[in-house]
Amino acid sequence: MLNFARFAATRAAMALVTLVIVSLVVFSLMELVPGDCAERYLAYKNTQGQAITLADIEAERVRLGLDRPFLTRWASWLGGAFQGDFGESCILRVDIAQLLGSKFWISLGVCLGSLLLAYAIAIPVGILSAASRNAALNNLLRVLSYLGLALPNFLLALMIMLFATVYYGNTLTGLFSPEFKDAPWSWAKFVDLAKHAWLPVFILGWSATAFALQTVRALMSDEIGKLYVTAASARGIYGTRLLWRYPARHALGPIVNSLGFDLNRIFNELPVVALILTLTEAGALLLEALARSNDQQMAGAIIFLLTASIVTLNFATDVLLAAIDPRVRKSILR
């Protein structure tokens, strides 16, 4: 047990190191964008009709600390990031933490919800379909899962919206009812969010489920054919006990391993769905910051938070993997 705690601590430290390295990459990318925050803001002011001189820009640079060396700036940015302080948006001059508000956590929640939905369906269905010799059932599942893979999320979202508008007179868009939109967090607001969030969770979960189902099925079919399963049935073990204790348990490791990758994929799909369902979430903000306003501070903050989430999830799956698979556990604890 003590060994396990030590292993978890080592992994946590490694995750932290990864995050620091990632932050350096993210920060360098932010710096690579032509022009800096001072120029961008003052140029923006310029379009508002204010006359700006080079001296103004220089003064702004000093005010923002942009004249300091690269590594110093990175260190202070990183220090802030770990405390949830990402500085100000380049364009809007508002605190990013405030601007992002709970949007990032809501986005993450929607993505994790989709991930949970996907595996809650894919694990049992995938295992049973790999074990079943029912050709009709397997073909039906295959068609459904190809449909899930082939049908673009935005199309599904549009179809559902159309359907909902025609039959219910409700577009099902947004994440909050108007009365809760700017209200402080409360239980009622949370319930309202859950009432709205099921749709994006379902749409994102739809293709994620199809994807996960293929993975689970392939891994299971692989395990079922292995000799240790035959050997176990030669010892008189059969039925669901054989299925869950032998191949299913052993297929679980690679499934857990794929979680981090899946979260990333779902997050990438979120902005498109968010655009159609008019959700204000972090993915849409990221697109806005990257594509339209060139707000490097904002983009950097979101990318850093997203990476941190994936690194954290990977840390969690590593620990989980070690808990369920003795081969992993023994190889690292030695």
Partner: protein
């Protein structure tokens, strides 16, 4: 009454290309305390035959109507072919019959400790409590020569050496005190020195537990060392069977002679290896007559063996070969 009687066992697999015959009208029997060596090249149907005794073959298997497998356990005859439900099959799966496989590493579940797998099996087949099952398992690990059995009990297959894994497999197979042990190439994956140890161990245990063993191998040398009787299989048919010394010293069938000639000879290093000519035919194109005739160098063209299937004819007492009676006379 013999321990095991297999009569007219025929077994086919349903595939997209049609029915593939894996075992064709095979009969043999085995007594308590006896070791039967089942020998043949890969694809000869020896493993499929052994798995049929536990009905362990893939789900696309079709058994011939006349196939009969009877297991006599404690005065009761078990009709194996009639067992259908997994629950009833436990008698032959781990109960009266245990099986050891070729790859000890692959036959243990990698993420479950050796001990847990042993205890699980004991709880299914005996009335022992969990604690008693653990005690017996550790005792069995000790019995097969594993040092520190209590520590090994909690370990996983990947933490053991190849020889130790196969010992643990033997311990697990014997812990339920089966009447019949099927060993499917149990030493093929092991070093030669370890191989000898494992074979000795199995011989000792058979003598002690008084059970029957079916030893599947492609290695006639191993059979000569271990078995009392031998059955030589080719393409799902028995070519020759009888007492092991008799068959190996005076083989009656050309296929058995071919297998013996193909063995490297340590006492004459200059002797050329004599492989059996030709390849095993595709299972979809079974030769007519004697299935071995296309590869038999001793046959003249137009021989009776190309069209007619030879019966198993007694060559010497208890020693049979798939030959027509007129050839047997000239043989001895």
């Amino acid at each position: 009454m013999s321990l095991l009687d297999v009569k007219n066992l025929t077994l086919q697999f349903k595939t997209d290309e049609g029915l593939i015959t894996a075992v064709d009208d095979v009969s043999f029997s085995l007594n308590k305390g006896e070791v039967l060596g089942l020998v043949g090249e890969s694809g000869s149907g020896k493993s499929v035959t052994a798995k049929a005794l536990m009905k362990l073959n893939a789900s696309n298997v079709v058994y011939g109507d006349n196939s009969q497998i009877t297991l006599n356990v404690e005065g009761q005859a078990v009709d194996v072919m009639a067992l259908r439900r997994p629950r009833d099959l436990r008698v032959v799966r781990g109960g009266a019959i245990s099986m050891i496989f070729q790859e000890p590493m692959a036959s243990f579940a990698p993420a479950i400790s050796i001990g847990k797998q042993m205890v699980e099996q004991l709880l299914i087949h005996t009335d022992l409590s969990k604690a008693q099952a653990k005690e017996l398992s550790i005792e069995m690990l000790d019995r097969v020569g594993i040092t520190e059995p209590a520590t090994r009990f909690n370990q996983y297959a990947f933490e053991m050496s190849g020889g130790m894994r196969q010992r643990a497999m033997i311990a697990m197979a014997l812990s339920t005190k089966p009447k019949l042990l099927i060993a499917d190439e149990p030493t093929t994956a092991l070093d030669v020195t370890i191989q000898a140890q494992v074979i000795d161990l199995m011989k000792d245990l058979v003598a002690e537990f008084q059970m029957g063993i079916i030893f599947i191998t492609h290695d006639l040398g191993v059979v000569a060392q271990t078995a009392d009787k031998v059955a030589v299989m080719y393409l799902g048919r028995i070519m020759e069977q009888g007492p092991v010394r008799d068959v190996i010293r005076t083989p009656a069938h050309a296929y058995t002679r071919g297998l013996l000639n193909a063995l490297p000879k340590l006492d004459d290093l200059d002797a050329p290896l004599m492989p059996i000519p030709g390849d095993i035919p595709s299972p979809l194109e079974r030769p007519s007559g004697c299935v071995f005739h296309p590869r038999n160098p001793e046959l003249r063209p137009g021989s009776r063996y190309e069209v007619e299937r030879p019966p198993l004819t007694e060559v010497r007492p208890g020693h049979f070969a798939a030959l027509f009676p007129e050839d047997v006379a000239g043989e001895s």
